[in-house]
């Protein structure tokens, strides 16, 4: 019998295999069997772990009912006090007074919830649940009730501190997983949004959730994430950064092979492109995989501005990256090896500023670089107010004093200042740190081999970057291999209405982001 029921339900469930949006569910109606309805709804919503259901009897009668809701979006206390309690306990008095128990009396007399709406088809029910409503199904009726018990609206969430943006949402993840999932649910009402729960850490058993959109994310990537997450053998799992380090192919790489974000809007945008996110209870950051170098150079602000402005800003970031890694090395190479490359007047001017400086350019650069690193580290460790003082003392006073004392040349102060400023334009903090690290080897190469050393250093770095992979995706994708379609959103960003396809390099199952008829937002 059970087998028969399962087969029957399985058949029905297969019928409502959906992809894309809830519109396709319009044709499916509720059945009289509540367990059938609940199972189908769960199936539609990928059986995500935060979807909760409860079967019960109304007022001690034989009439069965069930509720279904998404834990991260509702106020469970409200459901308990205004839905379950009245239906299970308080309804007995209504029944004893002789009122017949049916769908209408449940709706009119037994619930103390403000907004109630009848629903018969799966599309409106699924949309309601995804929006944070609670669904009530009563045995024997082909219609149900959508009850409003939402909680997420107006709740205080964190403010982005590591990834601030000028425009756009100012919400950030917090340490509580349920709230973070709610922030994602709030933005995506697609039943294909899947949450898969894992317990990581032998002792901590931390709740870790894989988030992706079924039908968009490449199943190979999802399977790889599942596999790697399951194989983590940790005593206590603490933060997203720790997990990120354990998930990557090359843990020793100084370049970030997973992306961490504190912004729900960034996470939503990433999973809508076909990437996979990992959230951990107790960590206010999410991990996004796979990640590529061009992705790390993108900022959320790029999508809030006109495409031309965004493209120029993004391109300037690449210039910033180049200068941040190479500017001191280039200065050393040109002054020590190839002064003839520069115009004579500039060479003379540099030589004049360096007159009296006792150290060669490389020692000057290393000295200033060390001071800069110490200042940056000090300003992070100290409280905000004192941190600013350190910056001023370090940047202005020490710099000026060093020049006046003749320890360093003014031009070197300019070089190091430009290097420091340009390192701040890199949107990803981990990538910015990587550029700080590679600066020193480049200086060593510059002082040994001049511009040849820098060129060779760049080629070795390119080889290294080209060999890196993040969850099977080449780190330099889509710059290489050439995927011309994906270049629309790489170093430059073309108008939003041209970005109708999801990035090809992520191998999304559904490649279309929007149909031709949906390109109205021409900016």
């Amino acid at each position: 019998m059970t087998k028969l029921l399962k087969r029957r339900l399985g058949k029905r469930n297969r019928k409502i295999e959906i992809s894309g949006d809830t519109d396709r569910l319009k044709q499916f109606r509720l059945s009289e069997d509540i367990s059938d309805n609940i199972m189908r709804l769960k199936n539609i919503m990928n059986d995500s772990f935060d979807i909760k259901s409860r079967f019960f009897r109304i007022g001690g009668t034989d009439l069965q009912a069930a509720v279904l809701y998404i834990e991260s979006l509702v106020n469970e206390e409200m459901i308990m006090n205004h839905l379950l309690k009245p239906l299970i306990l308080q309804s007995t008095s209504v029944i004893e007074s002789g009122v017949a128990v049916n769908f209408q009396t449940i709706k009119d007399s037994m619930l103390s919830i403000g907004s109630i709406q009848e629903a018969e088809t799966f599309d409106e029910i699924v949309l309601g649940i995804m929006s944070g409503d609670t669904f009530l199904s009563v045995q024997g009726y082909t219609k149900g009730l959508i009850l409003s018990a939402r909680e997420y609206e107006g709740k205080p969430f964190g403010i982005p501190t590591v990834e601030p943006s000028v425009k756009g949402p100012q919400e950030a993840f917090v340490e509580i997983l349920k709230k973070n999932l709610g922030l994602i649910r709030k933005r995506i009402r697609d039943p294909n949004l899947a949450f898969e729960l894992y317990k990581i850490g032998k002792r901590s058993k931390s709740d870790t959730v894989i988030v992706y959109i079924k039908g968009i994310a490449d199943q190979d990537i999802v399977d790889e994430v599942r596999g790697r997450l399951s194989s983590i053998d940790l005593d206590i799992e603490l933060t997203a950064f720790q997990i990120g380090r354990l998930l990557v192919e090359r843990p020793n790489s100084i370049f970030p092979l997973v992306q961490t974000t504190e912004r729900p809007d960034k996470l939503v945008s990433a999973i809508s492109e076909g990437r996979v996110a990992i959230l951990i209870n107790g960590s206010p950051d999410a991990i996004l995989v796979p990640v590529t170098f061009p992705i790390l150079m993108q900022s959320v602000d790029d999508y809030f501005e006109n495409w031309l402005v965004a493209s120029v800003i993004r391109f300037s970031r690449y210039i910033g990256l180049f200068l941040s890694s190479l500017f001191p090395a280039l200065y050393i190479a040109v002054t020590s090896f190839h002064p003839g490359m520069l115009p004579t007047s500039l060479v003379l001017s540099i030589a004049a500023t360096r007159a009296g400086v006792p150290f060669p350019a490389v020692i000057e650069a290393v000295l200033m670089e060390v001071i800069l690193e110490l200042l940056q580290e000090a300003s992070i460790r100290l409280p905000k107010a004192v941190g600013q003082t350190v910056s001023i003392v370090g940047g202005l006073v020490i710099g000026q004093a060093a020049v006046q004392a003749g320890i360093v040349s003014p031009i070197m102060v300019i070089v190091i200042s430009i290097t420091a400023v340009t390192s701040f334009v890199i949107p990803d903090y981990s990538l910015s740190l990587a550029t700080r690290i590679i600066r020193v080897p480049f200086m060593v190469l510059a002082v040994t081999f001049g511009s040849f050393g820098i060129a060779m250093g760049m080629l070795i770095l390119l080889t290294y970057l080209s060999s890196l992979k993040s969850f099977g995706i080449r780190y330099l994708s889509p710059l290489t291999p050439y995927r011309f379609r994906d270049w629309k959103d790489t170093i430059i960003r073309t108008p939003l209405w041209t970005l109708t396809k999801r990035p090809e390099f992520l191998s999304p199952e559904d490649t279309n982001r929007a149909g031709p008829g949906k390109r109205r937002n021409k900016q």
């Binding site: 490359m341 080629l459 080209s466 060999s467 291999p481």
Partner: protein, 365 residues
């Protein structure tokens, strides 16, 4: 995880990079010595021959899509005779890589690092190239994809920027009582495009999509166009007599570029820096070829390939430093490239013909 494969556009970039190399610095010299002002015609005719031979190479690769050149040659011609045919290709690739490193170091000393000894330059470049080969063909594909636009823009700049100084009459008279020399220049023109057969090494790693041949032909066409244009511009700027006396005509051409505003005073230094990338990918691809050749020639398992890569370094250093005189190196380099003519015009067509017969026999059976 999905199996990784090279894309069709990567066939183009890899082919261009295999053909470009140190040759770009000296391509004009030898041809102008033979065909004088008509050197560019010899080069163009050599280019046409390259396209024909390229199609043969492509056809050979298609016959055995899961094997690379050394594997095909051993499979088609048998273990003994195959090795006999593979040996000149192996020696050629090693010589080409070693001498490329030497010519590169020489030019670099002349234009950028006058006091740095040659050995560290050669060693540094060889080790970096070995590292890239060690990382595998897909990594090489990635490097080449990034460097290709830089190469193309640099080459185009060298061609376009000196146009103000060109004297068209330097190209005249065209084919006047010089046809014999032009024909004589076809074979030297042919060997300027050494590396064209890289498709036979890449095809087995490539995603089978339509248009591989189209991209491969584009990969052959781009260097042909650039070399011909470069030769024409060099002749037009310096005249055929002066070109013969220039050791590195391309760098001298870059030296002749004058920027208004004098922001850049020594353009040739910048060209030399950008050219490092061009030589690097060329050396990487030839080292990759020689690694595959040696591995298959010695019948080694692929897991020993990394060992083969690093053991070639001392050998390359020896080849690079074997000849003392700078000019003799360039002369030997030009003469040595006739080996490629033999390989391209005889060995590859022969192997293809045998492969065809073998395939036909197999089909009949």
């Amino acid at each position: 995880m999905k199996t990784e494969q090279l894309s069709a556009p990567q066939i183009m970039t890899l082919t261009v990079s295999a053909i470009f190399g140190v040759d770009v610095l000296v391509v004009q010299r030898e041809l102008v010595t033979i065909a004088r002002q008509d050197a560019w015609i010899s080069l163009a005719l050599g280019g046409i021959l390259i396209i024909l031979m390229g199609i043969v190479c492509y056809y050979l690769a298609c016959l055995y899509p899961n094997m690379d050149f050394p594997q095909i040659i051993l499979h088609v011609c048998g273990k003994f005779f195959g090795r006999l045919l593979l040996l000149p290709a192996l020696v050629y690739d090693l010589l080409y890589t070693g001498l490329s490193l030497r010519i590169f170091a020489q030019a670099l000393k002349m234009f950028l690092l006058s006091i740095t000894p040659m050995v560290p330059i050669i060693l540094f470049m060889a080790l970096a190239a070995a590292y890239a080969v060690y990382k595998g063909i897909y990594t090489i594909g990635g490097i080449v994809d990034i460097i290709f636009p830089i190469c193309a823009v640099t080459a185009l700049s060298i061609i376009v920027l000196p146009l103000r100084q060109t004297i068209f009459s330097n190209l005249k008279p065209i084919l006047f009582e010089n046809t014999g020399n032009v024909i004589k220049g076809i074979l030297p023109g042919f060997h300027q495009f050494t590396g064209f057969g890289i498709i036979t090494f890449l095809f087995c790693y490539t995603r089978r999509t339509k248009g591989i041949l189209k991209w491969y032909l584009a990969g052959l066409g781009i260097p042909i166009f650039l070399y011909v244009a470069l030769t024409m511009v060099t002749i037009m700027v310096f005249g055929p007599s002066d070109v013969q006396s220039l050791i590195y005509p391309t760098l001298t051409l870059a030296k002749s570029i004058e920027f208004p505003g004098t922001f850049l005073e020594r353009v040739e230094s910048f060209v030399a820096v950008l050219w490092i990338g061009i030589v690097f990918v060329s050396v990487v691809l030839f080292l990759f070829k020689s690694t595959r050749n040696i591995t298959v020639f010695l019948g080694l398992d692929t897991k020993y390939q990394s060992f083969v890569i690093w053991t070639q370094i001392p050998l390359l250093l020896g080849i690079a430093l074997f000849i003392k005189n700078a000019l003799e190196v360039i002369e030997f380099f030009s003469r040595m490239k006739y080996m490629d003519v033999i390989l391209g015009l005889f060995v590859i067509p022969f192997v293809t013909a045998v492969a065809l017969l073998k395939k036909r026999k197999e089909t009949n059976q």
